[in-house]
Symmetry: C2
Subunit: 197 residues, 2 copies
């Protein structure tokens, strides 16, 4: 099936989804500033006008791409669902770390944009961090009520722990400082316990 | 001694220092965006022209104020120098927390500006976080080599822990979530141990 055939057969929703997937892939190796509608048009082989039709403007396009990337991270980092809580946590953390390694430029630019003046991206980033850390408590309820106590206080601390994880992983990707992937994961998981138990 | 007498007697360096102190105080209750040269001129009772003479422009003025604020934080959070490491750490953390409580608006705007596009403020914030977390290792060497091991890896993790502290304290100031000041400090100090020992 040639790409032009694909293009004709896809519904607008499918087409938009495909364009977002290309956008997420492109974001992996460049910053948001460098992720232009023009680049996506070239990569997808369609006109800029059609892309503006799908996304409106560059900011809306970035928001859509980042939302999709964040959904991907959430799916990729789902705990395996079996094993003790610490093993599951390390598996989830490992998937997150691998994602950041593979998509470093885009991830870093998201974090910077999110903390800077871009209110929409800040909100998406905050919601994602909250969703990821709140999921710790879902697994906890199912698996081990003594390791992770679910209170507003521990949720606050778990979200702060997510900031630690993000900071450590971004630093580690730039310079591992002699830490192996496994040791980093074990240390990060270990720091959660005194915060939420 | 009236303020006009004070003004006449001060050297340019003393005058600049006094203006920075006013700037830091003003920053405590407002964001960097709201900290204008005009406001400082009104507050200090001197002309805008003279302030531009001292600081150049708004960005340079902000940088000077933030540098001074960061020096203040570093001094205020110096560990007491006696007591076991965990007690000293909690004292230092407590001083940091109280500073953020007292200067919330300005501190929050610094963190946002630092992570956003403002490269100079980002660097000052990063240097400050590094200085604060590196100081953990100075005390450690003097006091307890078994609690805090000094390696590039533990320094990376201690800096990430500083991000956890900042995130948790900023969240706690907005909504304590049932956590007392002392419990928050104990949890934050407790999270450092598995990272650096």
């Amino acid at each position: 099936m040639s790409s032009s055939t694909t293009r004709v057969r896809m519904s607008p929703a499918e087409r938009r989804k495909q364009l977002l997937e290309i956008g997420v892939r492109l974001l992996g190796t460049r910053s948001l500033d460098d992720l232009s509608i023009e680049l996506l048009a070239d990569e997808a082989g369609i006109s800029r006008g059609l892309l503006y039709h799908y996304f409106g403007n560059k900011q809306a396009f970035h928001v859509a791409v980042v939302r999709k990337a964040v959904e991907d991270v959430y799916e990729i980092t789902a705990p395996p669902g079996s094993g003790d809580p610490l093993t599951q946590l390390q598996a989830s953390l490992g998937a997150y770390l691998d994602y950041v390694v593979d998509n470093h430029a885009g991830y870093l630019s998201l974090v910077r944009a999110a903390s800077g003046g871009n209110e929409e991206l800040r909100q998406i980033h905050a919601d994602a961090q909250r969703a990821l850390s709140d999921r710790l408590f879902d697994k906890a309820r199912a698996l081990d009520e003594s390791t992770i106590i679910d209170t507003p206080a521990t949720r606050l601390l778990a979200r702060a722990w997510a900031a630690l994880v993000e900071d450590a992983v971004l630093a580690w990707v730039e310079d591992p400082a002699g830490l192996s992937r496994e040791e980093l994961l074990a240390r990060l998981a270990g720091a959660l316990v005194p915060l939420v138990s």
